[in-house]
């Protein structure tokens, strides 16, 4: 094993300061980064753990009916609080990430900062039109995700909070790759009084996206039948040993219909 420095600040301000070192990397719940370190796919000289910062933990509802989730909140807590705050669709998503060990360590901030093309939260963030709050600014979800593992975050920028508008109805459906349980395709559908959001993860070579055609169709008729004739092109979908681009495109339609049916 190689050596690196490790810091565990107690406040966002201290964390930001600690991250100013060259090659320093923030560590959320470590559910992706630690295995990555073990495989030597990343070798930062310094890790700054965000796990000791209480001010970025917790879930509440603001006066605009948004679920405000601290960036350091673990999936298990999100699953519990989303239910009591009237957002069962997010409970469904968070309660099926990984396994209990992952859900007790992994954080929403870590997931969104990593932006794995198969991560679940980005689909919910896109579908609900969430706002990503960092130590220095607020970023709309539409502007935040930039492709596979790429986001609008700058070096050393920390996600402190995610503000998700609570939909009237929502559901997340994913098709799990049987060995890893990561979604081959996951679709989050959120119905609001004035619009419908559809976020698709796992499918596209460009990362999470909103399926706007389905959003329009569902906006006038929120039913599985409304999207029955729609399809996304296979062009630009991920093709790998788990499934071809055509298969992923097919799954987007199936998972969207199933999510709509589940949200009703």
């Amino acid at each position: 094993m190689y050596n690196f420095d490790f810091e565990r600040p107690k406040s966002v301000a201290d964390a930001v300061k600690a991250l100013q070192t060259e090659e320093a990397q923030p560590l959320g719940g470590g559910q992706t980064l630690i295995p990555t370190l073990k495989q030597r796919l990343a070798m930062p000289s310094k890790l700054v753990s965000l796990a000791g910062i209480d001010e970025i933990k917790g879930v509440c509802k603001d006066d605009q009916n948004r679920l405000c989730i601290g960036g350091g909140t673990v999936h298990r807590v999100i699953a519990e609080k989303a239910m009591s705050e009237g957002f069962p669709g997010l409970t469904g998503l968070a309660s099926k990430i990984g396994d209990p060990a992952v859900r007790n360590r992994g954080t929403i901030g870590g997931s969104l900062a990593n932006n794995d093309p198969s991560a679940c939260y980005p689909a919910a963030a896109m579908a609900t039109g969430a706002t990503i709050v960092t130590d220095r600014r607020e970023i709309a979800a539409d502007d935040y995700f930039k492709g596979l593992f790429e986001t609008a975050l700058e070096e050393g920028e920390i996600i402190t909070e995610v503000k998700m508008p609570i939909p009237e109805a929502s559901a997340y459906m994913k098709f799990e790759q049987p060995a890893s349980r990561f979604p081959l395709v996951g679709v989050f559908v959120a119905r609001f009084s004035d619009r419908v959001g559809v976020g698709v993860t796992g499918a596209s070579e460009s990362g999470v996206f909103r399926w706007t055609e389905a959003e329009r169709a569902l906006g006038s008729d929120f039913s599985a039948d409304a999207v029955k004739g729609l399809s996304v092109p296979a062009d630009g979908m991920i093709s790998d040993l788990h499934g071809t681009a055509e298969y992923r495109a097919h799954l987007v339609g199936v998972m969207t219909r199933r999510a709509v049916a589940a949200a009703q």
């Binding site: 190689y2 060995a179 040993l241 499934g243 071809t244 055509e246 298969y247 097919h250």
Partner: protein, 748 residues
């Protein structure tokens, strides 16, 4: 001394009993020591660096960086590798493979060892291996069947299958009223025993001691000895337990020779255990195949010709041609039979025998082609097979030593409910709307015997000890062979100490070809019989024995006593006979091999019938094998529990072959992109919904004195085709490539 249980459990009676595994307690409590559990004092840890490209040359290694890492003691590269006495590029025996042991800087496949690091700890050696940071000159890899020229070859006993023709295939094609001409492909598969390859090697002068998993102890000793210029008897090999072998642990390969070389070079014991990723390269695999099957029948559905041409991939530097087309010999009564093989050299490690080599991939294609032929005829697939049932061996006309295949078909079909199957595909749905399909295939596997020897000793107290260097790969040899030995001695199992898994014991031959129980068991049977014969002579000559003078009548041994044959009133306890003879032990020896006259006069095979139900999600195309029923006739079953377990395992492997296993190569560099058990999918419990095995009774007086055939591999055959055919029956789609992928069913 091999590991033996320090306590004996009372198992009840012997052969035919479903006794639990003798080594089960040791394994589940951690008492069983596998090769890599041995850590002699001052052991060094060896880690080899696998090539990450499939074709090219190593141009640079940061040896200084690796050497500088604390704990790294040696960095071995082609520049400084000490000489071997046997050339790894040679094939000294029929069963040898050519392999890489740092001869030069050429890279011939991904995963090939290109350097070896020795360290005081595993961690230091692993880090040293990483620091080597190899640079390459990369050539375009060839990993697909059409990326290199196809060739034919002269047959050889191992690795180069002969072509076989019976009758006139061209006439058979010309005479056909109905025909199919279909091509199936099977993917490269890699043995993934739970215990990866491992060795602990230590030298004492020119004597070598090895702890390593081996399914062929004496052959392994001879193989290793060759490369180090020492006699085979100078090698002591301990292999009490194996965590699976599947054909890959019979023949020494490069990593083993490098570890042994490192031990000789350093004068210290060396331990090496392959990582899961390293299992995909230098230790053998099942080569990919493409098989063209042309079948013709007369108007009534009788095969006029069964014509099977196989193309198999091998490496650029050695030949192991998966003998897939041979699966079409010996099974169906076709007017003409032809099996031909060709090969293609790819930038992959050399394939080798992997559980049912040839039979598995050949049966997959054959049983699907038979289904397609039945479809063309509008005939039920089972009825079609019965119409072509071979009463004698097709082509040769030899009688079968035994063949209860008709009973397998009948009992399997009855248990499965085959009679209710609609002929047309796409007719069945379950309550959840899933498509349901039923398919079947015939299982078929030869039952070879090799050569084996065994000793048996009856001790003064009436207990016995038997010895043979048998290998328990997890299949239960420790138990089934001990049952045979105890029977041959007329003793309860707990009165017999069974020694195996050590090269110093009489040679038990190879645990392969599904012939270990038949071969080593027959040797044990003979050794026990030798002891009983001697004991009878002692008793008959002893005036104080109740058996005195009864030698002409003959004796039987039962529960530790000798009885006059046919007269239970006259008996004598083993211990009493020996006590009166002065308390000496009686030792016997036995050997076994197939009787040549029996082999000449009969065709010898195990048979079975496998029925599969699959369900396919119409939206997602997800496939689930919801039921598998296999009925098998494999001669005498020594231990029904273990035999059933073997057949379960074979059928699960068939499921894996049909739907899961496939190594995928990166097109640019040629490495296997899914070289781990997350990407290389093998079935888990969630994939196996229903398994049912029927053992069909079969007496065989010709295969060997025990009547044992073998159950190790036959379960794979038949199963792959049954599943492929069931998927067609559910969906109407013929997917002619295994594994069948989820996206193959898209768009219907």
């Amino acid at each position: 001394m091999p590991d033996t249980l320090d306590t004996h459990v009372r198992f009840g009676s012997n052969s035919g009993q479903p006794i639990t595994r003798r080594d089960g307690r040791a394994k589940v409590t951690g008492g069983a020591t596998f090769a890599a559990d041995n850590s002699p004092d001052s052991v060094l840890h060896a880690v080899y660096v696998p090539a990450t490209i499939a074709r090219g040359r190593v141009t640079a290694l940061d040896t200084a960086a690796a050497e500088a890492h604390p704990g790294v003691t040696h960095v071995v590269t082609p520049q400084n590798r000490p000489p071997l006495q046997g050339d790894p590029s040679d094939k000294p025996t029929m069963f040898s493979f050519r392999f890489e042991a740092l001869q030069d800087d050429t890279v011939r496949y991904a995963g090939q060892p290109i350097a070896l690091i020795l360290g005081e700890t595993l961690e230091a050696a692993t880090e040293g291996a990483r620091l080597l940071n190899p640079r390459y000159e990369i050539a375009t890899p060839r990993t697909g069947l059409d990326e290199a020229a196809h060739y034919t070859f002269d047959p050889d006993a191992f690795g180069k299958p002969a072509d076989t023709v019976h009758g006139d295939p061209e006439a058979g094609h010309a005479a056909a009223a109905h025909s199919v001409d279909v091509t199936y492909e099977t993917a490269p598969q890699y043995h993934n025993a739970m215990e990866t390859h491992a060795v602990v090697a230590s030298w004492d002068g020119d004597r070598l001691s090895l702890d390593m998993p081996s399914q062929a102890l004496s052959m392994t000793c001879a193989g290793i000895a060759y490369y180090f210029g020492i006699p085979a008897e100078n090698v002591t090999l301990r292999s009490p337990y194996l965590g699976g072998g599947f054909g890959s642990k019979a023949i020494p390969t490069g990593p083993y020779v490098l570890a042994v070389l490192a031990a000789r070079m350093t004068g210290r014991p060396v331990k090496m255990m392959l990582t899961r990723q390293q299992m995909f390269g230098p230790v053998g695999h099942r080569g990919q195949t493409r098989q063209r099957l042309r079948l013709g029948t007369d108007a009534e559905g009788r095969l006029t010709v069964l014509d099977h041409a196989g193309l198999s991939a091998t490496s650029t530097f050695d030949d192991f041609i998966e003998p897939a087309a041979n699966a079409s010999q010996g099974l169906y009564a076709a007017g003409a039979l032809r099996s031909t093989h060709s090969a293609v050299r790819l930038d992959v490690g050399t394939p080798g025998p992997m559980r049912a080599p040839g039979e598995a991939s050949g049966s997959a294609a054959l049983e699907c082609a038979m289904d397609e032929m039945a479809e063309t005829l509008g005939m039920d697939p089972l009825e079609f097979r019965l119409r072509n049932y071979a009463e004698t061996e097709p082509g040769t006309g030899k009688p079968f030593s035994s063949k209860a295949l008709r009973e397998c078909y009948a009992q399997g079909a009855e248990r499965f409910g085959w009679a209710d199957r609609p002929l047309q595909p796409g007719q069945m749905r379950d309550a959840d709307g899933l498509r349901v399909g039923w398919g079947m295939g015939t299982a078929f596997f030869p039952c070879p015997m090799f050569m084996a020897e065994a000793n048996a000793t009856l001790r003064a107290d009436g207990t016995a000890m038997v010895e043979t260097s048998a290998a328990d790969m997890g299949q239960g040899a420790w138990t089934a062979l001990a049952q045979i030995a105890a029977d041959s001695l007329g003793l309860p199992l707990d009165q017999v100490e069974f020694r195996a898994g050590h090269s110093g014991l009489p040679d038990a031959g190879v645990a392969g070809g599904s012939g270990h129980t038949a071969t080593a068991g027959s040797a044990l049977h003979a050794a026990g019989g030798d002891v009983i014969r001697q004991l009878g002579e002692i008793a008959a000559a002893d005036p104080d024995s109740p058996l005195h003078g009864a030698g002409n009548a003959g004796f039987t041994a039962r529960d530790g006593r000798l009885y006059v044959a046919g007269d239970d009133s006259r008996s004598d306890a083993f211990a009493d006979i020996l006590a009166r003879a002065g308390g000496a032990e009686v030792s016997g020896a036995g050997s076994a091999s197939r009787a040549p006259e029996a082999a000449e006069a009969h065709a010898m095979n195990a048979h079975g019938a496998v029925f599969a139900e699959v369900k396919v999600d119409p939206d997602l195309c997800q496939m689930r094998v919801t039921r598998l029923v296999g009925a098998f006739a494999a001669g005498r079953i020594i231990n029904p529990r273990l035999a059933e377990s073997q057949l379960y395992g074979g059928m699960i492997w068939g499921l894996s072959f049909a739907l899961h296993e496939e190594a995928r190569h990166d097109p640019a560099r040629g490495h296997i992109v899914n070289a781990d058990l997350a990407g290389y999918h093998v079935p888990v419990n969630a994939d196996v919904h229903g398994l049912d095995v029927i053992s069909v009774h079969e007496d065989d007086p010709y295969v060997n004195a025990l009547g044992v055939k073998g159950v190790g591999e036959i379960g794979i055959t038949g199963t792959v085709g049954a599943i492929g055919n069931a998927i067609w029956h559910a969906t109407g789609k013929r997917v002619r490539r295994f594994p069948i992928r989820i996206d193959d069913l898209l768009g219907d």
